[in-house]
């Protein structure tokens, strides 16, 4: 339906009001690419998380969010990037995780779930940071045969508890 290696590129101002615009664009592309409702919703969230991070953390004086999507045979490659502040990716990845139900309520953090959700909802995620941050996310079409885990990477931890 959609040919291999088609690319959609987009630039929007780094403001909360445009995150929903990118989300709509993603849902359109994913719909045309033949993804299921659930996969489309997952991608909308993942891309929105990456865009929200740009809005919240990348720039001190405004800038743009860059979004690109390659429609490949195996699925979609979604990239969200910015030219803002750089981060220590290794340290960042160490901090990624869900809420710990053992923590006292008063000590729960209100943020820090964005990257964890991206990791949980997408099939492959790469984060890099040179000038700014780039996050490359993949979702594969028709993972028949591969058992999908509704709880994402979490479930392994849960069994240990």
């Amino acid at each position: 339906m959609v040919n291999t290696a088609d690319v959609v590129e987009m630039t929007v101002p780094s403001k909360a009001e445009y995150v929903g615009v990118v989300r709509l664009t993603v849902s359109g592309i994913a719909n045309r690419a033949g993804f299921s409702y659930d996969d489309i919703e997952d991608m909308k969230i993942a891309v929105a998380e990456a865009c929200t991070n740009v809005v919240d953390h990348a720039y001190s004086n405004g800038g743009t969010i860059k979004f690109s999507c390659s429609i490949e045979e195996e699925g979609l490659k979604l990239v969200v990037s910015d030219d803002g502040q750089s981060v220590d990716v290794v340290q960042l990845r160490e901090e990624i995780g869900p809420v710990d139900g053992q923590d006292p309520v008063g000590e729960l953090k209100e943020g820090g779930l964005g990257l964890f959700l991206i990791e949980s909802l997408m099939d492959e995620v790469e984060i890099s940071s040179e000038a700014g941050v780039a996050i490359v996310m993949k979702k594969f079409l028709q993972r028949d045969g591969v058992e999908e885990n509704a709880d994402g990477p979490r479930s392994a931890d849960k069994q240990k508890q």
């Binding site: 929903g20 989300r23 929200t52 809420v99 309520v105 209100e110 779930l113 964005g114 959700l117």
Partner: protein, 110 residues
């Protein structure tokens, strides 16, 4: 893409009906409604998400904030009406273990 909030006084406290999408753009509105309600002493705030089509970590963060606020004021926060998609997000992030969702919180952290 938009959010509509409706607030109703109940016997036990307040019920907030949320409709639409909760993201970085609409979340501040939800926060401004929800937090003052949870700051009342010894009350119960029930948030009905039956008509929420989309929520991401910004929205989930609001509920963590509301839970903390309720907790420190001796009040209760509960969420109802979540559909399968929304439930999945609360569950992936572990929030279903700390917030009462549809009366079925699994482990209590007090």
């Amino acid at each position: 893409m938009n959010l509509t909030l409706q607030t109703k006084e109940t016997e036990a406290g307040t019920r907030v009906m949320v409709e639409g999408e909760i993201d970085a753009y609409t979340a501040p509105e939800l926060r401004e409604t929800l937090i003052p309600l949870t700051e009342k002493q010894n009350t119960e705030v029930v948030v009905d998400l039956a008509n929420v089509e989309y929520i991401d970590s910004t929205g989930l963060g609001i509920f963590i904030g509301a839970l903390k606020s309720a907790h420190s004021n001796g009040s209760e926060l509960a969420i109802t009406g979540v559909n399968e998609r929304v439930h999945r997000l609360f569950s992936i992030t572990g929030l279903d273990e700390v917030i009462d969702i549809d009366g079925e919180r699994r482990e209590g952290a007090k």
